[in-house]
């Protein structure tokens, strides 16, 4: 009583206050940067962070983990002569699974036969409605749609992205999600190898028969 509890509490505040400066000084003495450096930001979101741990956005930005997801984008591979090989086959799964139904796909039809061609003629995502759930990326069987890391897309108008705006190269995808990218590439190579082996097997079996 008599304010002892308050004083005890103020002790905690004082301690925290001191820690902020002690931490700053210790980083300075060791000749390291606590601010505006990846190391410093990582330290401030580690279990050892003490004192003020604010990250001064936008000068500094929190390090995004690989799985961080913002709005989706479409992946294309770079073919010969910089040709864009869009991975999407317009199968429509992402449009079906999307909870707020913000994906709109126009499938390409062959002008002569009228049959569908596995390519999107147009692809819209209404980014104002997208809830960043990640289902489209999760359930796309062709690794054609992925979640982006770029979250600075605030604008004064509405954001309906079309095919042109959605397409980003596979190299960009590899950069933001290296582990996922490598895993998928390996799976793809293994699949192709298995396919080649299967194709080769009957060919090898045929002459002997």
């Amino acid at each position: 009583m008599y304010g002892k509890g308050i004083l005890k509490g103020l002790g905690v505040t004082l301690n925290r206050f001191m820690e902020t400066y002690l931490d700053d000084i210790s980083w300075w003495v060791r000749g390291k940067k606590r601010y505006n450096s990846a190391e410093g930001i990582a330290h401030r979101s580690s279990k050892n962070t003490r004192g003020i741990f604010t990250v001064q956005y936008p000068e500094e930005q929190l390090l995004t983990p690989e799985e961080f997801r913002f709005v989706p984008f479409l992946v294309y591979d770079e073919g010969a002569e910089g040709k864009q090989e869009v991975r999407c086959t317009s199968c429509g799964i992402c449009a079906k699974v999307c909870p707020p139904q913000c994906i709109w796909i126009v499938r390409t039809n062959d002008p002569n036969t009228g049959k569908p061609v596995p390519q999107p003629a147009q692809f819209y995502i209404d980014m104002d409605i997208c809830m960043n759930c990640g289902f489209c990326a999760e359930y796309c069987p062709f690794d054609a749609i992925k979640m982006d890391h770029d979250f600075d897309i605030a604008s004064v108008s509405r954001n309906v992205y079309d095919l042109e705006k959605l397409l980003k190269p596979a190299t960009y995808y590899a950069k933001i999600r290296p582990q996922n990218y490598n895993r998928e590439e390996e799976a793809r190579k293994a699949k192709e190898a298995a396919k080649a082996a299967r194709a080769a097997a009957p060919a090898a079996a045929a002459p002997s028969a």
Binding site: I6, T13, S45, R69, K96
Partner: protein
Amino acid sequence: MTAPASTSTLDASAQLSASLVARFPDSVTADTRPGFSGFIIKKENLVEVATALRDEFGYDLLSSVTGVDYLAENKMEVVYHAFKTTGGPNLVFKVQVDRVDPIEVPSLYEVWTGADFQEREAWDLMGIRFTGHPDLRRILMWEGFEGHPLRRDYKEAFFEEEAKPFKSRWPEGNHKYAEFRTPHRDNLIFPEGFDPDNYKPENEDELYFSLERSSTKREEDALKTDHIVVNMGPHHPSTHGVLRVVVELDGETITSLKPVMGYLHRNHDKIGERSTFLQILPYTDRLDYFNSMANNFGYVTTVEKLMKIPVAERAEYIRVIMAELSRIQNHLIFIGMLINDLGSMYTPSLYAFEERELILDIFEAVSGARMMCNYFRFGGVVRDVPDDAMQKIKDLVHDRLPGKTDEMERFLNENEILLARLKGVRVLNAEDAIRHSVTGPCLRAAGVPYDLRRADPYSVYDRFDFDVAVRYNGDMYDNYLIRFDEIRQSLRILEQALKQIPQGSINSQKPQYQVRVPAGEAYGRVESPKGELGFYVVSNGKPNPYRYHVRAPSFVNLTAVESMCKGTKIADFVALLAMLDIVMGEVDR
């Protein structure tokens, strides 16, 4: 693993069924539809049977009340779920009436006061009139709203199709803005035969009448003082979001009080019924947006019950770890925000936010988002916890959080101002809490050790050694301290879970974008940090649920706010409200 129903519980339910039918041979029949369970009670005898269930059979806690509109059978059904606060599985009973307006069912307000808001909700959204309810007004929609939006034949302004996925999206998906589907280019429809010249907007008289009706003011008071009505909110900074509370005051004493909600209403239930089972998942994140992990947990548990699928062993542990981390950050924020509400702005809440940020970093690393995690899937979770995130969980649980909890206690517990504000101010006693269906920390602080993780264990909670936090005074200080107790118990669970977690697959199912859910009903519930979070799902075998209802703890706990606050001083009201730890995303749904 989902525990198979043991023979003893089956026996118990068969016994109960026999004795209940024997007690009321004319009015109770077992529900024999395949996939359904429980009893169907004749509406004339509902109150009598319910009273017997409460007094003779011991089902003292009414958890959920909701309606189901069986349009094809031309029936309206009211579904009740009751529990014993001593633990055990649920008792489901239903009342069926013809679907001809006015649809009338006797109110159970007198038996369980906890039915109050839930019956109002069923009236508002389904149009079921509960006769004998003392205050049957709309609760989530506004006065003058036309129709009952949860009925199967109700169509919203932007209505496109009964269920997703919509055909317009693929393969001819030329983008159109939603507002181009309505004549007024807005989220607006007029009722049939609407005449703007003769339209008189309904006003809030009903609200003020009801405020007056439930007032405790007495005319013979010695001093002839005026009573004043104060509207707090919906933008009051300390009301935790857009909640409005109308208070009638006698001097500084609250004589009557009515919460007004629905400002954040989006008809979550209807969205769910229009969506596929999987599509609902990210929407549940937005209920109690502090605890998306707990919401995911409740929903997938329910649907897994319906699908009768096992959950991968490793995923069970990951789920528990995430749910407990979520509880810790929720309670820390509760403490910080409570101090905010008491007038000590920012410092304690920012200390709480610091730990919360670290926990959210983990959520972000595993699920991709800090708040809208969408991390659980039927049968498991999306992806395994990355190694660095696992290390961080261990670091936090072993090295940081215990110390920081101690520091928080050192910082606040003995503070004389805090003590003066909190100690001895009554929140709820055990009896009131149970009567009002209050669950969660508020119930436990009133001396009822009712925690679903023990009372009706789900997931792998039966494998951990922990105590149910309980305190007995039921005042604000106990309500505050119990949060620390729960953080400690969560840390205990986390330590054991981190030790026991096995290697292996993280989902028992193949990833599918459309799951098959057999016809039937299921009620699943988890102990969310705010109380009992229940989901009632009815499936008819189609890709989207026939009925999907959320029993939100914040919403039901708010039922008690009126009786909690009557007779206290207005200055305590904000702190009392903080005790219930409501979050409007969940109240308004």
